[in-house]
């Protein structure tokens, strides 16, 4: 769509996020993210994997300026970005997000078209009303919700999970962003449609030369859909590298544990035998 200069980058530099926790009488500090840096380039995908609570979403929220980093900065094309104020609007037309739960990220009160028209209007104020509507329809078609008319005036609860997530993707595309943060975009979806959504995302990424931060705990899809994998463990990046490298040749202990825990049909019967052996050994 828009020709971006090749060197477009979104850089996180030394991001740190601490949460103050209050439990009863004591307050304690939770270091949710400890000094994370990475650079996302347009056209590339970085997967961020890690167990629950490792800080993945927190990083995403900081990138989206929904959370203010305790320290560190976020640079767009090498330029530091503001944390508040009007300038954020510009930033947001460049960086968008897809949320984990398509059931929660669409307002049940509004129609599908409303969800798409709003960002279009906000980020392309010069467009006329009919142009906005055309663009919205176009977006629906692009996420393979066609014919668009069929979907435009429905409300979120009239769509299936997969369809909703497509709407969410369309919404993220609406401002014409160059970077997309996808926070576990398919974990709430049915197994049989997950791949469809991921593939769609991949297609769109290629078409628009988007930079994608793909957050997941599913190592298999992380491997297949990204160029690079970062393994997050308690707020720290413990391992990073090209996708295949990390999966096939893990270095860090934690990465290995993670890989071992992932279900692997190839191992059928193995666990049973292992357990039997163990019991017999006792």
């Amino acid at each position: 769509m828009n020709e971006t200069i090749p060197a477009a980058t979104l850089e996180a530099r030394n991001l740190v996020k601490d949460f103050k926790l209050r439990s009863g009488l004591k307050t304690s500090i939770l270091h949710a993210v400890k000094d994370v840096s990475f650079t996302l380039e347009s056209g590339k995908t970085i997967a961020l994997v890690g167990e629950s609570g490792s800080g993945k979403s927190t990083i995403a929220r900081m990138l989206m300026k929904l959370e203010t980093p305790t320290s560190g900065s976020i640079l767009l094309d090498g330029v530091e970005t503001p944390n508040s104020g009007r300038a954020i609007a510009n930033y947001r037309s460049e960086v968008q997000m897809i949320f984990q739960d398509p059931f929660a990220s669409l307002n049940p009160f509004h129609t599908i078209i409303h969800h798409l028209e709003r960002p279009l209007r906000l980020h392309h104020p010069h467009l006329s009303k009919s142009q906005v509507r055309d663009r919205a329809h176009e977006l629906l078609e692009r996420v393979r919700l066609s014919p668009a008319d069929n979907y435009a005036d429905r409300r979120p609860h009239e769509l299936s999970g997969g369809q909703r997530q497509r709407v969410a993707i369309a919404r993220a595309l609406a401002p014409g962003a160059r970077f997309i943060v996808a926070d576990e975009p398919v974990s709430m979806l049915d197994v049989s449609i997950r791949l469809g959504v991921l593939n769609l995302l991949a297609d769109l990424q290629r078409e628009d030369n988007l930079g994608v931060l793909y957050i997941t705990h599913d190592l298999a899809t992380a491997r297949h859909f990204s160029d690079e994998i970062m393994v997050l463990y308690r707020g720290d990046v413990v391992e990073r590298g090209p996708a295949d490298e990390v999966i096939l040749n893990p270095q860090h202990e934690y990465t290995k544990t993670l890989l071992n825990a992932a279900p692997e049909p190839e191992n059928l019967g193995k666990l049973r035998d292992e357990v039997r052996r163990e019991l017999a050994g006792l």
């Binding site: 949460f19 103050k20 926790l21 209050r22 439990s23 009863g24 929220r61 989206m64 929904l66 954020i88 609007a89 947001r92 037309s93 968008q96 997000m97 949320f99 984990q100 739960d101 059931f103 929660a104 990220s105 669409l106 307002n107 049940p108 009160f109 509004h110 709003r118 960002p119 906000l122 980020h123 429905r154 409300r155 609860h157 009239e158 969410a168 919404r171 609406a174 401002p175 709430m188």
Partner: protein, 365 residues
């Protein structure tokens, strides 16, 4: 207070929230669930309804009776005064029982009771609406705005809310009303209004706080929406059932409150309301003189209106919390099906087990 507790949904913040004071009515209402719907809940959602209709309570007997009651009283207030006498016409014979000419008899001064009730209906409804309006506006500010803003601003607004919650309403109203030399209907409504909002604000604030962290609110912030728009367009619509319910509650509160104040001689001095009719009847010793037609009807009307509003409220409760509607309906339909002989596990069993249809006994198997 725990108001600015982080939004992480750890057990601490939930229970802290319940720690805060609240009036019984408020707290009794099951806080609407904000958890992502389970597959079952989703599966059981009825056919989608479009537009505003989606927000209306689905048809139920409660709703039907409630709206019927309320609308007939509203109609009575609107239409009846056109046909009744001047409510201050003392030409009639005093203290006469119901007759063809005076359907509900006359008062001590010869006023036609029906005419008084008709004009009183206008007055009472006016009190209800003004009070409800004020209460809802205040609870929006102290509830929705506070919940959305968070931080110290929420703390401050919440403190005011909490203070208003614990300051007892009726005595405060009495004190204020006693200090006002002339009490217009509007003044009484305003005074009732400023004591009626805190409970609603409290619930709205908790609800808004949970909505604020909802993904779709984050999503619209990511889309670049301004705060006021997020409040108005993204958050408020989802609060509508709650707001409607609170509004109705405020009306009930106002009408009952006004009647109570009037009984204590602190009601509006310039208008006819059901409360002032009751007060007249009481000070005219209607009961002592056996003039039930003067004393009973205003009370009955108040009770009916309150009952109608409450019924509508319960219908709204059922949208806010679909479990309330689904579980009983489900039990009923299964009982019907079992009666029709379609189940293999037999009819419902003895009393205690009947709570869930699955406790069926198989007695006839």
């Amino acid at each position: 207070m725990s108001d600015n507790q982080s939004n992480a949904s750890n057990a601490g913040s939930e229970s802290n929230a319940t720690n805060e004071p609240s009036t019984s009515n408020v707290i009794l209402k099951e806080p609407p669930t904000t958890v992502a719907p389970s597959t079952v809940a989703l599966a059981t959602q009825r056919k989608p309804r479009r537009g505003v209709r989606a927000l209306l309570p689905s048809f139920s007997a409660k709703l039907a009776v409630g709206t019927a009651l309320v609308s007939s009283i509203v109609l009575f207030a609107v239409i009846a005064p056109m046909f009744t006498q001047n409510p201050r016409n003392s030409k009639n014979p005093p203290l006469e029982g119901p007759s063809a000419e005076h359907w509900l008899g006359t008062t001590k001064l010869g006023y036609d009771v029906l005419a008084q009730l008709a004009h009183g209906a206008q007055g009472s409804l006016k009190v209800g609406l003004i009070t409800g309006g004020i209460a809802i506006v205040l609870s929006l500010v102290f509830g929705v705005l506070a919940g959305y803003l968070g931080g110290w601003r929420e703390d401050t607004l919440a403190l005011v809310t909490n203070i208003m919650l614990v300051i007892p309403g009726l005595p405060l109203v009495m004190v204020i009303a006693a200090f006002a030399p002339v009490r217009s209907l509007e003044l009484v409504s305003i005074v009732l209004g400023i004591t009626a909002w805190a409970g609603a604000a409290y619930v709205l604030r908790l609800q808004t706080r949970s909505l604020r962290t909802r993904d779709y609110v984050s999503a619209s912030r990511v889309a670049g929406e301004r705060s006021w728009r997020i409040i108005l367009v993204e958050i408020m619509p989802n609060l509508l059932p709650l707001l409607a319910s609170q509004f109705l509650f405020a009306i009930i509160f106002a009408i009952l409150g006004e009647a109570g104040l009037s009984y204590l001689g602190l009601g509006p001095t310039d208008s006819i309301t059901w409360g002032t009719v009751l007060n007249d009847a009481q000070s005219g010793q209607a009961l002592g003189q056996g003039a039930w037609w003067w004393f009973v009807p205003p009370g009955v009307l108040i009770a009916l209106l309150g009952c109608g509003l409450a019924l509508i409220n319960f219908a709204i409760d059922e949208i806010i919390n679909p479990k309330l509607r689904n579980a009983p309906a489900a039990a009923r339909s299964v009982r019907k099906a079992t009666k029709a002989g379609r189940g293999v596990t037999g009819a419902e069993g003895s009393a205690p087990a009947s709570a869930t249809a699955s406790h069926s006994t198989g007695a006839d198997a």
